[in-house]
């Protein structure tokens, strides 16, 4: 059983699994958002937690002080995801019935005194928050390792947990992409959200039905890409950044068969059986064409298939910026799949200019 879980949690299986779960969540959000589901899920999860904690290797990783916030984060995110969908489902039902969302009911729109209503609420959260922090600080000591030693790197050397998603991306992308361009695009994308999303509905209340597209894309990035990768990077990457299942011992000597090949090598050496051309551009021509096709041909095709309505409603500039961001986001899972399926290292490999894609 543990073997199976170990195996399944390998990104090759777990990432598609996470995507499927995510699609199911969107499709059946009303069931997901029901209180009954929450109760059942709670029982199941508690059982699973008990089962997982029984394993010494898993216990070791989960109780590492620096990993505690991630556990807290996942508990909170699970709860709040359920909460949003619970509220969204409720509101959506009301809207279908032609009623206003709960937040819009007259009793909720009623103005109340800030003192003491809000001030006290704030005071309570502050007290609760302080208490929580104090208890946390008492129970878990902040980690402190050996004194800094620039000549000897610990194994594995991990970034702070909130950047582990980025570090995980580094497995699939070069630093300039994973470390600069993609994070940059994330920030730009977030900044652009209010200007991309022209849907006037759903302002100030929970709903899914009215904002399907926006929520789907956002949650895909937030839950499936960002949080999932952090999860993998924190709990399942061991020495030498090799994958370890949740119940696996972090053996320093574990080696994974990895021999990645560039697209140009596939094309010239494996495909045509000739030498690589000396000219760099010629050598990488296939990769360049593929990349160009991804954007130049992929965009119109996608537009034709699914995007016409958006194009119309958003206007050209908005639409294309939006699609560029989406394409960039989607390039990550694409690259991941290419790596897993074909051991593809780079689509374009120009180490001469440090330009690897």
């Amino acid at each position: 059983m543990r073997e199976l879980i170990n195996k399944l949690s390998d990104p090759i299986f777990s990432f598609p699994g996470a995507m499927l779960l995510y699609l199911a969540l969107l499709r059946y959000y009303r069931i997901f958002g029901s209180k009954k589901f929450a109760k059942i899920a709670l029982v199941v999860i508690l059982g699973l937690v008990a089962y997982f904690f029984a394993d010494p290797n898993f216990f070791l990783i989960i109780t590492t002080p620096d990993n505690i916030p991630i556990s807290i984060l996942f508990v909170l995110v699970s709860f709040f995801t359920w909460l949003t969908f619970h509220k969204a489902a409720e509101n959506d039902k009301r809207i279908e019935q032609g009623l206003c969302p709960i937040e819009g009911t007259p009793e909720n729109r009623e103005k109340v005194w800030t003192w003491p209503n809000l001030v006290y609420t704030e005071l309570f959260t502050i007290i609760a928050g302080t208490t929580f922090l104090i208890v946390w600080a008492i129970l878990f000591k902040a980690p402190l390792e050996e004194p800094a030693n620039p000549t000897w790197a610990p194994n594995p050397a991990k970034a702070p947990w909130y950047f582990l998603g980025l570090q995980e991306m580094l497995v699939y992308f070069d630093p300039w992409m994973a470390g600069v361009i993609l994070p940059g695009l994330i920030v730009v994308g977030l900044l652009a959200i209010p200007f991309m999303d022209t849907n006037p509905k759903g302002n100030g209340y929970y709903t899914f039905q009215e904002r399907k597209v926006a929520i789907s894309f956002f949650l895909f990035g937030w839950l499936v890409l960002w949080l999932y990768l952090i999860l993998i990077g924190t709990f399942l990457r061991g020495p030498n950044w090799v994958f370890f299942g949740p119940f696996e011992y972090w053996d320093l000597h574990k080696v994974v068969a990895e021999n990645n090949v560039n697209l140009s090598e596939y094309f010239w050496i494996k495909g045509l059986g000739v030498s690589m051309p000396k000219n760099i551009l010629l050598r990488e021509i296939i990769g360049i064409i593929v990349t160009a096709l991804y954007f130049v041909v992929g965009l119109p095709v996608v537009t034709k298939l699914w995007g016409k309505a958006f194009l119309k409603s958003m206007g050209q500039i908005r639409y294309y910026i939006f699609m560029f961001l989406v394409f960039s986001m989607v390039s990550l899972p694409i690259k991941m799949f290419l790596r897993w399926l074909f051991q593809l290292k780079y689509i374009i490999a120009m180490p001469e200019f440090e330009l690897n894609l």
Partner: protein, 938 residues
């Protein structure tokens, strides 16, 4: 102008003010940029670069001239021809290149395959081993897989290797086709390569567009060519509030050529260091990268702002004036440690080179330290590391048995009057105590002191009686047996007095000082009077001692003898006593106390106080005062003592450390001038009558007494062996071996008297450690047995402890880098025919002419060979026989094997080496069995 409603000011005016202020703002920003950018060191660096370019240009020109232009032309032509020729192969080469290109693809493909196999093998190895370990069911399957992949990997690497070899072959064949061109090119390269390199070097430092860009304001962060250079010293620190921070020197920012030979003639800062072999140079003992600059020179090495900030210190007022004009220099203020004056740089050696007698190449410093020791500065002033030294003055334990009170009083009052060259400094009649009042007080003090010291003195009776002696013979003896190694003697020809002043006392007026009995007793056995004296015994016969005594007692000081020291004035004595007691008591009570004492008690009490006041016990052993504290302030850290803590009195002197020390040594009492100090507070430091050069050396040595913290890693660390040798060296110096012996080129003042025949003088000790056996030297020092019966000078018998003798041996062993004993066992067995050959050689070379001991009855002119084997090392005997002149140029021993050629080609096949060894063996045999000499008599 009318304003719009709601406006306080006219918009137009506002805009104008805004524009004006912005303009000022912009200008100030620009000014700030320039202020930040323009630095004096950049100017120096530009100039230095120009000088470097000039020099490179010169070298390039010289190199070009040295090249034969026609030869190069010919070579170039040849290359052209060869190139044309090899063009014939162009098609072949092209074909091979195409093949190679194809091959590259194949190799690439196989290396991918190999990589795959390798990845699989490593992953499977882990998996298989794990499953084996855990005895999993799929272990066998995995092992099988691993095996398969290993086979695949092996075959892939094999194939890959095959193709790679093929590629190498092909490469080689192309090279071969072009071989002629390549060879010729290489030849040309060898000829002009250096020139090209030089040209590249010049281009690298030329000023062009790129370098302007690199040094442009704001852009100079990229990679400026003008930049601050620095050395961070790991082992030398600056003190920052008790924290030691690594010292940083940026001197090379301006002194660019300091480590580059070839700029010796330039002006500073473009000058090469004058002693690159020792300092700064990368292969020197003190490379700049490790030791920096300020470590020796002092100063604020980390500052680069301008000439002033470094705390440059001029050598003299002339240079100061020059700097004032040139650099706007002024005396550095508020700087913890300004630079040493150039002439004082040696002082800095001391902080790292501690625990050594002499620091190599620091002559002036050594001289200064020697003077500090000789004048006994360490005895009144504490200097760390000097505590164990002997007291510089003679012991006064048995003073009463040597001189009388009248002599003593007059001597103390003015030693120079009796003996102008005495070491004893003057306490009285100085600039601060010459008034009649003070003089009278001093006289009372001297009287009391004399009584007190004599009251402490033991009885002493000389153990010899002088009856009669021949002063003429005595004079001759004195100049021959070696007294002059340490003493200068009145009555001899002044040219004979070659010993360093103050090593042993100047022997003058002894007739007016001691009794003849005492003198004779002292000469025969110095330790009888003073067991601690370094004066050795010359093993004088009774008549010799009498003769010398007669000679020495002839020297009289009539004037001094007739001096009558003023008697003790009881009133002044009481006054002084009261004054002294009153320091801890009321005046009335002090008077009562004095009155309660008897006259003798009063005198002795004042004597005791005076002894303590002047610290006589610091230099002289006086009973009961052995452990009294030193009287002067400590000098250990005088080089770091804050300027403000020196007392400057009313003297108008530059407030600098070296100025103070110099002034102080010139006249220690000067600080009292113009003050109204009471008698008891007058400065007591005596006057030493030093020469200007002596003072300079001592100033330097004292400046080196700094408190800088140097960690162990930064110090010169002595090995255990070196430490022993240093201790030995101390003994050698203390006993003044250098007075007679020239030890590896150092010392031997007395030899000046033997210029006509150096062989008659004390022997040169050249590499003594390789020469004599350790055991022999050890015994010899205890019991001197004359070796050269033919010389008159004598090796005296020093009274050395076993430890001291061991140390002396270690010293010589270490100096000669000799650490082990020779194994001479095989030298005691003869090879067939060797002994006969040796005897023949001995006879043919007429060794017995000089080394006649036991062979003929002639007066021996060389050392007794029957003792040589015990004394000398066999290896050294052989070396000595082979070429004595090379070891001792003035020796009378002939060099028979000069140039390695044998004088006796018949014997032992004319093999010089064998002959020398045969003779050596023979000498050893003679030592072992002195009777063999008899067989040579025939």
């Amino acid at each position: 102008m009318k304003l719009e409603p709601g406006m306080a000011y006219n918009t137009k005016v506002l805009n104008k003010v805004f524009a004006f202020l912005s303009a000022i703002f912009l200008i100030s920003v620009f000014w700030m940029l320039l202020d930040d950018y323009i630095r004096p060191w950049k100017v120096y660096q530009v100039e230095a670069t120009k000088i470097k370019q000039e020099r490179l240009a010169k070298v390039i020109e010289e190199t070009e001239q040295s090249l034969d232009a026609s030869e190069i032309k010919a070579l170039e032509d040849e290359i052209l021809v060869a190139e044309q020729e090899s063009q014939k192969h162009n098609e072949t080469i092209k074909k091979i290149e195409e093949e190679m290109h194809k091959l590259e693809g194949v190799i690439h493909a196989w290396s991918i395959k190999k990589g795959e196999a390798n990845a699989q093998v490593s992953a499977l190895t882990f998996k298989a081993e794990m499953s084996m370990e855990h005895k999993e069911h799929n272990a066998d399957k995995l092992m099988q897989q691993l095996k398969d992949w290993k086979v695949k990997f092996a075959s892939a690497s094999d194939t890959l290797k095959k193709y790679e070899l093929e590629q190498k072959e092909k490469k080689k064949s192309i090279v071969e086709l072009n071989s002629k061109v390549i060879d010729l090119r290489k030849e040309l390269d060898d000829k002009v390569g250096k020139l090209e390199l030089l040209k590249d070097a010049k281009a690298a430092i030329s000023f062009d567009g790129v370098s302007v860009l690199r040094n442009a304001p704001l852009l100079d962060y990229l990679d400026p060519t003008l930049r601050i250079e620095q050395v961070v010293m790991k082992n030398y620190y600056d003190d920052r509030y008790f924290q030691q921070t690594a010292r940083v020197d940026r001197c090379t920012t301006c002194h660019q050529m300091i480590a580059k030979p070839g700029f010796e003639d330039r002006e500073n800062p473009y000058k090469t260091h004058p002693n690159l072999e020792l300092m700064v140079g990368e292969n020197s003992k003190h490379p700049v990268k490790e030791f920096g600059c300020t470590n020796c020179h002092g100063g604020e090495g980390h500052r680069v702002h301008d000439f002033q900030s470094i705390a440059h210190t001029p050598q003299n007022s002339k240079q100061a004036a020059e700097w004032r004009e040139k650099y706007n220099w002024h005396e550095p203020h508020k700087v913890p440690a300004p630079m040493f004056r150039l002439q004082h740089t040696e002082a800095a050696c001391l902080k790292c080179h501690q625990g050594v007698e002499r620091i190599p190449m620091a002559d002036k410093l050594n001289e200064g330290r020697h003077l500090l020791e000789e004048n006994g500065c360490y005895s009144c002033h504490k200097i760390e590391g000097w505590e164990h030294l002997k007291k510089p003055g003679p012991s006064l334990y048995r003073l009463a048995g040597k001189v009388d009170k009248e002599f003593f009083k007059n001597w103390v009052w003015n030693p120079k009057q009796f003996n102008p060259k005495t070491k004893m400094p003057s306490f009285f009649n100085q600039s601060n105590n010459s008034t009649p009042e003070f003089k009278a007080k001093n006289i009372a003090e001297v009287n009391a002191l004399t009584d007190f010291i004599y009251s402490l003195s033991e009885e002493y009776t000389p153990n010899e009686k002088f009856t009669v002696g021949n002063a003429e013979t005595g004079k001759e003896l004195v100049s021959k047996i070696g007294c002059l190694g340490c003493h200068q003697i009145d009555g001899l020809d002044e040219n004979y007095n070659v010993a360093q002043n103050k090593r042993g006392p100047y022997l003058k007026g002894l007739g007016s000082k001691v009794s003849a009995h005492w003198m004779k007793s002292w000469l025969k056995n110095p330790t009888h009077y003073d067991p601690t004296t370094i004066m050795p015994s010359f093993r004088l016969t009774d008549s010799e001692a009498s003769d010398i005594t007669a000679f020495l007692m002839d020297s009289k000081q009539e004037r001094f003898q007739n001096l009558k020291f003023a008697p003790l004035d009881g009133d002044i004595r009481d006054e002084l006593l009261v004054e002294s007691f009153a320091a801890f008591d009321t005046l009335a009570h002090a008077r009562e106390k004095v009155e309660a004492m008897s006259q003798v008690e009063r005198t002795l009490e004042l004597g005791r106080i005076t002894l303590g006041k002047y610290g006589c016990y610091s230099c002289h052993s006086i009973k009961g005062f052995e452990d009294s504290p030193q009287i002067g302030p400590e000098l250990t850290n005088i080089g770091s003592k804050p300027i403000e803590q020196f007392g400057w009195g009313h003297q108008h002197l530059a407030h600098e450390r070296d100025v103070w020390i110099r002034a102080h040594l010139e006249n220690p009492r000067r600080w009292d001038e113009g003050t109204t100090k009471p008698f008891k507070d007058l400065s007591k430091m005596p006057y030493f009558d030093l020469t200007k050069n002596e003072i300079e050396s001592m100033v330097l040595a004292l400046l080196g007494q700094v408190s800088d913290y140097v960690p162990l890693e930064g110090m010169k660390r002595l090995s255990a062996d070196e430490k022993l040798a240093e201790k030995g060296s101390r003994v050698v110096r203390e006993k003044n071996c250098f007075g007679c012996h020239k030890i590896d080129g150092e010392g031997g003042e007395i030899l000046a008297n033997y210029q006509d025949d150096l062989n008659a003088g004390p022997p040169f000790l050249v590499q003594q450690g390789t020469r004599t056996k350790a055991r022999w030297l050890y015994d010899f020092l205890d019991n001197v047995v004359p070796i050269r019966s033919f010389v008159e000078i004598r090796m005296p018998s020093f009274h050395l402890t076993n430890e001291e003798r061991n140390l002396v041996v270690s010293y010589f062993q270490h100096k000669a880098e000799e650490i082990s004993f020779d194994d001479e066992r095989e030298l005691y067995t003869w090879n067939p025919g060797e002994r006969q050959a040796a005897i023949k050689l001995f006879k043919n070379l007429e060794c017995a002419t000089c080394h006649s001991h036991g062979i003929t009855s002639d007066t021996p002119m060389g050392p007794d060979l029957r003792l040589a084997g015990n004394r000398l090392k066999a290896t050294w005997i052989k070396r000595w026989i082979g070429n004595p002149i090379s070891i001792l140029p003035h020796t009378t021993m002939p060099s028979f094997w000069d140039g390695g050629e044998s004088p006796e080609p018949e014997i032992l096949g004319g093999d010089s080496e064998k002959q020398m060894w045969a003779l050596t063996k023979y000498v050893l045999e003679m030592t072992k069995n002195p009777s063999v000499a008899a067989e040579l008599r025939k």
